[in-house]
C-alpha cells in the first residue's frame, strides 16, 4: 500500500508536469494565432483579396470612321458567336451532331471544338463558330431546349461596308502582335484588334477608346462567382474624314480592273475627297486573321494590291511635269512668256538626238501651245536654258519630291533630282542631257499621285501652298472663322508660293487648251457642262527604253507589249477651269497613253465630284473670302 501511495504521488507530480507541458503547447498555438491574425493580418488580408478578386478588362467599342457626309466607312458589326459551356452539355458529340443539322459545321471546326473542350475547364466557354448569319442564330435559338450548354454571344467585329473601295485608305485591324504589345493590358484581350494600316493605324489611339473594368469574385478554379463592380469603358472617338465616300467609290469603280490611283483634292483647303488605289483587297478578311490562301494571293499579285499607290506609288510624272518646268522657266526670268521654239521632231545635243513624241514635229509653238500639244522639244529647250537646279527648286515648291504629311502610313517622297542630289546619291556628275530628260518628267524624276494632285491644286488656287489633309475642316469651324471677320481668315490660309499670277495664267491657259481646244491632247475627255470645264495636263511615262533600231522601224504600239512594259498613263487637272475648286490626279499603271486612258477617268470622277459639291454654307464663304484675298493681291 505504501508503494501504491508513492506511485500515486509520483503520478500526481508527473500529471502536473504533463499538464504544464500541454499548457505551454496550447500557449504556443495561441501565440501563433495572435501572430497570424493580428500582427501579420494586414498582409494576409491583401493576399486573400488578391485571391478573391479578379480584375477583368472590358474592351471598349472602337470608334467609327466616317466620311464628310457621315457615311460609315468603318463600323462595328454585331458578331454572333456560338459557344458551348462544357459542364452544361452532358454529351458534346450529340450536341455537335444536332448543331451540324442546324448550321454549317465543318469537320475541322468539330475537331477544334472537341480539342478545346478537353483542354479547358468545364465552365470556360468554347467557341464553336463566329459570325453567324441571323437565320442561323434564329435556328439555333429555336432549338435551344435540345442543345444543352449552347449559347449565342454577341460581340463586336470591325466591319468595312465599302470593302475594297477604301481598303488602302482606311486600312484594317488585326490581332495584336508581340511587337505591338506596349504593356497596356487592353492589348492582351484575345478579342482586341489593333489598327494595322491606313487611318486605322494612324488614329489607332483615338479610335481605341478606354477600357472598362469589371471586378469579379472568382473561386480557386477561376470561375466567376459574381460581379463586384463595373466601370464601363469609354468608346473610341469617331474619326471624321474629308473623304467623300461616293466619290471614292466611284473612282475605285472607274479604275476598274486597271492598276492605278486617283486623288481628288479641294484646291483651297487641301481636303482630300478621294484617295483610290487599285486593285484593292478585302479589309474585312483581316479581322479574324487572314487566311493563308488569300494572303498568298495578295502577295503574289503583280499589281501589288496591298500598296496604296496614291501615296506610295512613285512614277515618272512624264509630261505632267512640264507644268513645273514651265513655271520654273518663267519665274527664272530667263524665258519670257512669249518664248517660242520650232519643233522638227528632234533636238540635237552634242552627238545625242532627243526625240519629240510626234515624229514629224510640231512646228513653231509658244509656251501655251507647247503645253496644249505637250511638245517635248519646247521643254528640252527651256530646260536646257534654265538648268536642272531651277526645275528642281520649282518642283519642290509645287509639292513634288517630298512627303506631304497626309495622315497615312507609308507615304513616299518621290525623287526630284538636281546636281547635288546626283552627286550625293550616285556620286556622279550631272550630264546636260539629263536636264533635257528631266524637262519632260522622265529619267530620275519620280512622283506620287498625291504630289501631282497637290501640284495641280497649287497651280489652280493661285499659288497657295496647300497641303493635303484627310480630316475635315469642320463646317462650323469655318462659320466661326467667317463670323469673326477678316482677321481670323489668315489662320486658315496657307503660305503663298510667291509665283507671279501672270505666270500661273500662262499655265492655266495652256491647261485649259489641253482639255478644251479641239487640238488639245485631252479634248475628247473634256467636261461639256457650262461653267464646269476642266483644265488638265496629260502625261505618258515610258517605262522602257526605246532603241534606235525600234525608232527606225517604228515604235511598237502599247497593246503589242507585255503589260509590264507598257507606258503609265497620267492626267492631272482642276475644275471648274474659271473658278477652280477641285484638283485631280490619275495614274493608270501600264495603261497606255494619258489622253486616252487617264483623262477620261479624271473627267468622270471630276464630274461626279462637281455634281456632289454642296453649293452652300460656310465652305463657299471661305472660298469667296479666299478668292477675295487672291484678287486683292492681284490688284
Amino acid at each position: 500500500m505504501i508503494r501504491d501511495q508513492d506511485r500515486f504521488r509520483q503520478f500526481s507530480r508527473r500529471a502536473l508536469l504533463l499538464a504544464g507541458g500541454k499548457l505551454a503547447l496550447f500557449s504556443t498555438l495561441a501565440a501563433r494565432m495572435y501572430y497570424l491574425q493580428v500582427i501579420e493580418s494586414e498582409r494576409y488580408r491583401t493576399l486573400a483579396e488578391d485571391n478573391r478578386i479578379n480584375l477583368r478588362l472590358l474592351a471598349p467599342p472602337r470608334g467609327r470612321i466616317l466620311d464628310r457626309n457621315s457615311l460609315e466607312i468603318a463600323a462595328n458589326q454585331r458578331n454572333y458567336r456560338l459557344i458551348i459551356i462544357t459542364e452544361r452539355a452532358p454529351n458534346i458529340e450529340t450536341t455537335l451532331d444536332r448543331l451540324s443539322q442546324l448550321i454549317e459545321l465543318g469537320e475541322h471546326d468539330r475537331r477544334r471544338v472537341l480539342r478545346d473542350v478537353r483542354r479547358q475547364r468545364g465552365f470556360v466557354p468554347v467557341t464553336v463558330r463566329e459570325n453567324l448569319e441571323w437565320e442561323e442564330v434564329a435556328r439555333v435559338e429555336i432549338n435551344t431546349p435540345d442543345l444543352p450548354g449552347v449559347h449565342i454571344e454577341v460581340g463586336q467585329t470591325r466591319f468595312y461596308p465599302y470593302g475594297h473601295a477604301a481598303a488602302h485608305l482606311i486600312g484594317y485591324v488585326g490581332v495584336v502582335s508581340a511587337k505591338e504589345q506596349t504593356g497596356d493590358p487592353l492589348l492582351d484581350l484575345p478579342s482586341f484588334r489593333i489598327g494595322k494600316n491606313g487611318v486605322e493605324k494612324i488614329h489607332d489611339l483615338r479610335l481605341r477608346g478606354r477600357a472598362g473594368r469589371s471586378e469579379v469574385e472568382v473561386n480557386a478554379l477561376g470561375r466567376v462567382i459574381r460581379e463586384l463592380s463595373r466601370r464601363e469603358g469609354q468608346p473610341g472617338d469617331e474619326v471624321r474624314l474629308s473623304i467623300d465616300m461616293d466619290v471614292q467609290a466611284m473612282a475605285h469603280k472607274r479604275l476598274g480592273e486597271e492598276s492605278g490611283a486617283v486623288v481628288v483634292m479641294d484646291v483651297h483647303t487641301g481636303e482630300v475627297l478621294a484617295l483610290a488605289s487599285t486593285p484593292g483587297f478585302d479589309p474585312n478578311a483581316f479581322n479574324k486573321g487572314i487566311s493563308r490562301d488569300y494572303w498568298q494571293e495578295l502577295m503574289k499579285n503583280e499589281r501589288a494590291p496591298l500598296t496604296n499607290k496614291a501615296i506610295a506609288g512613285q512614277y515618272a510624272p512624264g509630261s505632267t511635269f512640264k507644268l513645273a518646268v514651265s513655271l520654273a522657266a518663267l519665274e527664272s526670268g530667263l524665258v519670257s512668256p512669249d518664248h517660242t521654239t520650232f519643233c522638227i521632231g528632234h533636238l540635237q545635243l552634242g552627238n545625242v538626238r532627243f526625240h519629240c513624241w510626234k515624229k514629224g514635229g510640231h512646228g513653231r509653238l509658244n509656251m501655251e501651245g507647247a503645253i496644249q500639244h505637250s511638245c517635248d522639244i519646247f521643254f528640252y529647250d527651256i530646260a536646257r536654258r534654265i538648268g536642272v537646279d531651277r526645275i528642281a527648286e520649282m518642283a519642290k515648291r509645287l509639292g513634288l519630291g517630298q512627303v506631304l504629311g497626309l495622315d497615312l502610313p507609308g507615304e513616299k517622297p518621290g525623287v526630284i533630282p538636281n546636281r547635288d542630289w546626283k552627286r550625293a546619291v550616285l556620286n556622279q556628275p550631272w550630264h546636260p542631257g539629263e536636264t533635257l530628260i528631266a524637262g519632260i518628267g522622265q529619267g530620275f524624276v519620280l512622283s506620287t499621285p498625291l504630289q501631282l494632285a497637290t501640284m495641280a491644286a497649287r497651280i489652280a488656287n493661285g499659288g497657295y501652298a496647300i497641303t493635303p489633309r484627310l480630316t475635315r475642316v469642320e463646317p462650323q469651324e469655318d462659320q466661326a472663322v467667317i463670323a469673326e471677320g477678316e482677321e481670323a481668315a489668315p489662320a486658315n490660309a496657307f503660305a503663298e508660293l510667291k509665283i507671279a499670277p501672270e505666270h500661273l495664267d500662262v499655265l492655266r491657259r495652256g491647261m485649259f487648251a489641253v482639255s478644251n481646244d479641239p487640238r488639245g491632247t485631252a479634248f475628247r475627255a473634256r467636261i461639256r457642262e457650262k461653267g464646269w470645264e476642266i483644265a488638265g495636263k496629260t502625261g505618258t511615262s515610258q517605262v522602257r527604253r526605246i532603241t534606235l533600231a525600234e525608232r527606225e522601224t517604228g515604235v511598237r504600239k502599247n497593246e503589242d507589249l507585255p503589260w509590264k512594259e507598257r507606258d503609265h498613263a497620267l492626267f492631272v487637272a482642276y475644275a471648274p477651269a474659271h473658278a477652280p475648286k477641285y484638283a485631280i490626279a490619275v495614274i493608270v499603271e501600264h495603261g497606255g497613253g494619258g489622253s486616252a486612258v487617264a483623262a477620261p477617268i479624271a473627267r468622270d470622277v471630276m464630274l461626279e465630284t462637281l455634281k456632289r459639291d454642296p453649293a452652300s454654307g460656310g465652305r463657299r464663304l471661305v472660298r469667296e473670302a479666299r478668292a477675295g484675298t487672291t484678287e486683292s493681291r492681284g490688284d
Binding site: R14, A15, L18, T28, L29, M33, V38, E40, Y44, A48
Partner: protein, 382 residues
C-alpha cells in the same frame, strides 16, 4: 467470471448515471455543435452534405459514450490484450487486403461503414499499456528490461500504421505511448536517451519515408518555395487565418473557404475556416473549450483510485490533446501537414466515434473512480 474479482458491491445503473460527468458531456456536445455550425458553413449555408450527417453520427456516438461510461473499467483491464489483439489483427488485414483510399491503405470496407483499424488501435494501445503498467510487479519497476514488452506493444502497430502509410497516426501512437511511459514513472533520463536515439535515427528513417511524406516535411520547412504545388495548402490556410483578423469575416463570409482556396475545409482545415469567419476571438474561444476538456481529463485521472484508471484517463486525455495540438499547429504552419482531424469538429465518422469511445471510457473511469483494483486480476480472486 467478472464478478470473480469484484471487491466493491455492484453499483446500480442509476448510481452510475448520477456519477457521470454530465458537465463534460455538455462540453463535448457544445464543441460538436460548433462543428455542426462550421460544417453548415462549409456546405455554403446548407446542412448538406456534411452538417446533418455529422449530427447523426454525433447522436450515435454520444449514445455509445453513455453506454461505455457504464461499463466497469475492470472489463477493459481483463480484455485489454484481446482488444489489442483484435486491433492489431485488423491492422494486418488492411495491410494485406485494405482498399486504396487517399493513396494509402487505411480502410476496411464493412459495407455500412469504413472501419479504420488505426483508430481502433489508438484506444486499444492505451488500454493495453495501462494494463501492463498497472500489473507490473513492484520489484520490476525501474528496470529497463520490463520496458521492452510495452515498447514492442507500441512499436508493432506504429510500424504497421507507418506502412499504410499514415505518418500522423503512427507518431500519435508513439507520443501517447511516451505519455503513458512518463506517467507510469519511467525515469526521465531514459526519455532523454530515447529522444537522443530517435534524433540519431532521423537520417536513417528519412530513407524509409515515401516521397510525398518527404515533400510534406520539406514543404513545411519552406512553404513559400512552391506556392502552387505542395506549399499551396498551408499557404492558403495561413492566408485564410491571417485575413480573418481579430473578429473574423463573419459567419458564411469566409472568402478563402467559400471560394475553395482553402483545401479540405470540412476536414483537416476546418479550424482555419472557423478562424477565418470568427477571427482570433473564435479561435481562442475554441482553444479554451478544448482546454476545459483537458482539465476534466486531468481531474478524472487524479481522482481515480486505481493505477489502471489513472493511466487510462491520462492516455485518453493525451490522445485528445495530441489531436487538437497537431491539427491546429498544422493549419497554422507550425508542424508539417499530417492528416490529423480537429477532434469533434472535422467531418468524419471514424474519428468522431473513436473520440467519443475514448471519452466514454474516460467518464467510465470517473464513474468507477473509487474502485480499488489489485495489481494482478488473477490474484484478486476470492
Amino acid at each position: 467470471m467478472l464478478s470473480g474479482f469484484y471487491k466493491q458491491p455492484e453499483m446500480t445503473i442509476g448510481q452510475k448515471l448520477a456519477e457521470m460527468n454530465w458537465g463534460l458531456v455538455a462540453l463535448l456536445t457544445l464543441i460538436s455543435s460548433i462543428g455542426f455550425v462550421m460544417l453548415y458553413s462549409a456546405g455554403n449555408g446548407s446542412f448538406h452534405p456534411w452538417a446533418l450527417r455529422q449530427m447523426l453520427r454525433f447522436a450515435m456516438g454520444i449514445s455509445i459514450l453513455i453506454a461505455l461510461a457504464l461499463v466497469d473499467i475492470r472489463f477493459w483491464l481483463r480484455y485489454a490484450y484481446v482488444i489489442y489483439g483484435v486491433a492489431l489483427f485488423l491492422l494486418v488485414v488492411v495491410e494485406i487486403a485494405g482498399d486504396i483510399g487517399m493513396g494509402a491503405q487505411r480502410w476496411i470496407n464493412l459495407g455500412i461503414i469504413n472501419l479504420q483499424p488505426s483508430e481502433v488501435m489508438k484506444i486499444a494501445l492505451i488500454i493495453v499499456l495501462a494494463r501492463y503498467f498497472h500489473s507490473l510487479p513492484e520489484e520490476a519497476e525501474g528496470k529497463l528490461r520490463y520496458l521492452l514488452w510495452p515498447a514492442l506493444l507500441a512499436l508493432a502497430p506504429a510500424a504497421l500504421v507507418m506502412r499504410q502509410p499514415d505518418l500522423g497516426t503512427a507518431l500519435m501512437l508513439l507520443m501517447v505511448t511516451g505519455a503513458i511511459f512518463f506517467m507510469a514513472g519511467v525515469r526521465l533520463w531514459k526519455f532523454a536517451v530515447a529522444i537522443g536515439g530517435v534524433l540519431a535515427a532521423i537520417p536513417v528513417a528519412w530513407h524509409f519515408l515515401r516521397d510525398y511524406q518527404k515533400n510534406r516535411i520539406l514543404t513545411f520547412l519552406d512553404p513559400e518555395s512552391d506556392p502552387l504545388g505542395a506549399g499551396y495548402h498551408i499557404l492558403q490556410s495561413k492566408i485564410a487565418l491571417g485575413s480573418g483578423g481579430v473578429f473574423g469575416k463573419g459567419f458564411l463570409q469566409g472568402s478563402q473557404a467559400h471560394l475553395n482556396f482553402l483545401p479540405e475545409k470540412q476536414t483537416d482545415f476546418i479550424f482555419t475556416m472557423l478562424a477565418e469567419e470568427f477571427g482570433l476571438t473564435g479561435g481562442l474561444a475554441l482553444l479554451g473549450l478544448y482546454g476545459l476538456v483537458l482539465v476534466y481529463g486531468f481531474s478524472i485521472a487524479i481522482r481515480a483510485q486505481s493505477h489502471f484508471g489513472r493511466l487510462l484517463a491520462l492516455g485518453m486525455t493525451a490522445t485528445f490533446f495530441l489531436y487538437v495540438f497537431i491539427n491546429i499547429a498544422m493549419v497554422m504552419g507550425l508542424v508539417p501537414v499530417v492528416g490529423v482531424p480537429l477532434p469533434l469538429i472535422s467531418y468524419g465518422g471514424t474519428s468522431m466515434l473513436t473520440l467519443l469511445i475514448g471519452f466514454g471510457i474516460l467518464i467510465g473511469v470517473n464513474v468507477h473512480r473509487d474502485m480499488v483494483i489489485g495489481r494482478s486480476p488473477r490474484m484478486d480472486g476470492p
